[in-house]
């Protein structure tokens, strides 16, 4: 039991940090531009595939550095030549633009790398056992993922709260017109934030690709959960996104580890009309839990955990 709790917590925190790497960019972009970027998970997928392609030719580490930069540059281009164009048609058009983009990214990935998962491997330098606890081993690569995510979080926090650039970004969140009056190029700030958000998602893809499966469906698996994270955390709140990421990461990981069903708890005879539900284990319910959480949150606390605004 203790073993289960320890490892589930570790894995949950890891999954949560991975979610946060993406959710942080998503929520920053949303609070700045009012755009919910549907293609954000697509950038994560592109990161994984770019990382795979580079690691195939030069090695994992160059990919670790170059792939997120590439994705970031792509994100900046999308903002400059796509989003800025549709901006004048309103937020719905921006949302639809990113929705179409997500679709196109998925299809392009299928054309270039095929529909089957690609063989993106953990680099040999990190392919060893980090530690052994209660007779179970924990791979070093997972520790590396965790460290990368934590380092990224610290980096982001420092930039946002301790530097001049971060100050301007924070100001542009709430008072874009005032920031423009003071002589800052707000569209450029938007472009940079969009690019950095995309790069963060790309980095998450590069490190998650070898541990999870790098396949064309990976964006669709994660995308909706990202939205759950930023809504549960409160739209536009970085701290909220952090808490919600960890919460959802841990809840889902624990749920997956539990093989109990109602039948085991209350006996095999299901009440009428609940036949299916009675046999389902908590592990099988895991994919539904984030969405249940989302719906409950929106009913009882529409601003999210730490949010201040409703829409």
């Amino acid at each position: 039991m203790l073993q289960l709790i320890t490892f589930s917590t570790l894995n949950g925190v890891l999954y949560g940090m991975l979610l946060f790497m993406m959710a942080s960019g998503l929520t920053l972009i949303f609070s700045m531009m009012g755009v919910l970027n549907f293609a954000h998970a697509g950038f994560y997928m592109l990161g994984a595939y770019f990382g795979f392609e580079i690691s195939r030719h030069i090695g994992f580490w160059p990919g670790f550095v170059v792939a997120p930069l590439l994705v970031g540059a792509l994100g900046a281009l999308v903002e400059r030549y796509g989003l800025r164009r549709v901006h004048r048609f309103g937020h719905v058009s921006e949302l639809l633009f990113t929705f179409g983009l997500a679709f196109v990214i998925e299809e392009l990935v299928q054309i270039f790398w095929g529909k089957l998962p690609v063989d993106y491997r953990i680099p040999p330098a990190l392919d060893f056992v980090a530690f052994r606890l209660f007779d179970t081993t924990y791979p070093a690569y997972r520790m590396f993922m965790l460290l990368t995510a934590v380092a990224m979080f610290a980096f982001l926090l420092t930039i946002l709260t301790r530097t001049r650039v971060g100050l301007i970004i924070q100001a542009a969140l709430t008072h874009p017109n005032m920031v423009a009056m003071l002589g800052h190029d707000v569209p450029k700030i938007f472009m940079v934030v969009f690019g950095v958000g995309a790069a963060l998602a790309g980095l998450a893809g590069v490190i998650a690709g070898p541990a999870l499966v790098t396949q064309p469906g990976m964006a669709n698996l994660l995308g909706p959960i990202l939205f759950v994270v930023i809504i549960v955390g409160g739209l536009g709140s970085l701290t909220g996104a952090f808490v919600a990421s960890l919460l959802i990461g841990i809840i889902q990981t624990f749920a997956v580890a539990m093989n109990t069903s109602f039948a085991q708890l209350f006996g095999p005879n299901a009440p009428p009309f609940l036949g299916d539900l009675w046999q389902v284990t908590i592990a099988q319910l895991a994919p539904v839990i984030p969405y249940l959480l989302l719906v409950l949150m929106l009913i009882f606390r529409p601003t999210g955990l730490m949010g201040t605004r409703e829409s």
Binding site: G34, L36, G82, R85, V86, F89, H91, V92, S93, L95, L96, F97, F99, G100, L101, F103, V104, E107, L108, I111, F112, W113, G114, N220, P224, F227, V228, I231, L235, G275, D276, L277, V280, Q284, L285, P287, V288, Y291, L292, L294, V295, L298, I299, P302, E310, S311
Partner: protein
């Protein structure tokens, strides 16, 4: 022509088109396709009650389509088993009521707010239902879905709905009724208030209406018609599976409606017809048909937010007022540029598919526009790229002329209006 005749004429023509379509396109493929179009027209129109009329962008509308279809298919199976006298033409009503019931339930949760929050709740609810469909296997039938046999139902006026042509007329009849009903709804005070809520919820509230209540009612209506469409799909395919209520189907209806044009009543109809046609035809021709759909969608969002209907209406107005000739020269200049760019882009996409998915040893030759393009030969890539670049460059160069021509047209239209 009297006002009455002017009003009735388009409807008579629509009805006539429904009746005569199978006489003109009588092959098996076109019958199947037209049945599917009928289903999708209802689905897209129901979606536009939300997006176009009330301003609610939903990412989970397929939930009501799918649930309506599943309830309909269970009703069909139950009626067959119990030998209950329920002919197939009444099944869509069952599906519609099921859609309404679920719309009522989920609408209570999701229509509290409009805008992005509504979109996100609809996405969440859609994911919730589609991921539950793999848990509640008795109702959703797991991966393989639930099948039925429409011919075992009680015959209706002697028809057993075995042949596709009978199914087509069933779909067409329902489709016509739904088009009339949805159009009539937009003309009621309720429909007008939905538009008011879309434009300015605060002012709607000041004149004594609750925007939330209006959104909720519109949502229930939309779910009802989506349920009808789902039930017709169930009758048509005789099978329902979890894909029908998933994110892909929700995305498809958004694509159809938006590409058709959300600002006009006929927009979703045009979109449903064209997209269904492309879906059936393109999937035979190219592997990347979904990519083309995505690009088409992005193109419409970027360049023509009014959709195809908006574009057509713009020209119809100029044509009616006798100003369209001013556009012709600039269009004649731009058209070859756009065509060249498109051909170059399509050639590159198709060559990319051949290049990246070729088996070792096999060639990667593509038959395209009467030419043999070898995706392994740099020459064909250079040619395609040159075509694309030339198209884009000349298009950008010539586009101001189109704008100038439109400026002249608008000037004259305004002049005539003032005169």
């Amino acid at each position: 022509m009297t006002a009455n005749a002017r009003f009735l004429l388009p409807w008579l023509l629509t009805a006539l088109a429904f009746v005569l379509a199978p006489k003109i396109f009588s092959s098996g493929l076109s019958l199947t396709m037209m049945s599917l179009m009928g289903v999708m027209i209802i689905f897209a129109l129901s979606y536009n009650m939300l997006l176009g009329q009330t301003g609610l962008l939903s990412f989970g509308h397929a939930v009501y389509f799918g649930l309506g279809g599943f309830v309909a298919i269970h009703a069909m199976n139950a009626a067959i088993r119990a030998k209950f006298d329920l002919p197939a033409p009444f099944i869509p009503l069952v599906g519609g009521l099921a859609g309404l019931a679920f719309g009522f339930l989920f609408g209570l949760v999701s229509t509290k707010r409009a805008g992005i929050v509504f979109s996100m709740i609809s996405l969440g609810l859609g994911e919730l239902v589609s991921s539950s469909s793999f848990i509640l296997r008795t109702f959703f039938g797991g991966e393989e879905g639930i099948a039925t046999n429409r011919t075992k139902m009680t015959p209706f006026l002697g028809y057993k709905f075995g042949p596709q042509i009978e199914v087509y007329y069933l779909v067409a009849a329902w489709c016509f009724v739904c088009i009339v009903a949805i159009y009539a709804l937009t003309r009621t005070p309720f429909g007008r208030m939905c538009n008011a809520v879309r434009e300015n919820p605060d002012r709607a509230e000041f004149i004594g209406y609750s925007p939330r209540m209006l959104r909720f009612i519109a949502f229930c209506f939309a779910a009802f018609f989506a349920g009808i469409a789902g039930a017709l799909a169930a009758i048509n395919f005789e099978i329902m599976n979890a894909q029908q209520l998933g994110a892909q189907q929700s995305g498809l209806v958004l694509l159809m409606t938006y590409v058709g044009g959300i600002g006009y009543f006929c927009g979703p109809i045009i979109g449903a017809v064209i997209i269904t046609f492309l879906q059936v035809m393109l999937s035979d021709v190219t592997e990347a048909w979904q990519l083309y759909f995505g690009l088409l969608f992005m193109g419409v969002v970027l360049y023509s937010p009014g959709g195809l209907a908006g574009w057509a209406m713009l020209h119809a107005q100029a044509l009616r007022r006798g100003e369209a000739w001013r556009l012709a020269p600039s269009y004649a200049l731009v058209a070859p540029a756009i065509a060249a760019g498109l051909v170059g882009a399509i050639a590159m996409i198709e060559m990319a598919i051949r290049f990246f998915q070729q088996e070792p040893g096999d060639g990667a030759v593509l038959r395209f526009a009467g030419l043999n393009l070898d995706a392994n030969a740099p020459a064909s890539w250079i040619a395609a790229l040159a075509l694309l670049a030339a198209g884009v460059a000349s298009g950008r160069l010539l586009w101001p002329r189109v704008n100038d021509a439109w400026g002249a047209v608008n000037l004259h239209l305004r002049g005539k209006a003032e005169a």
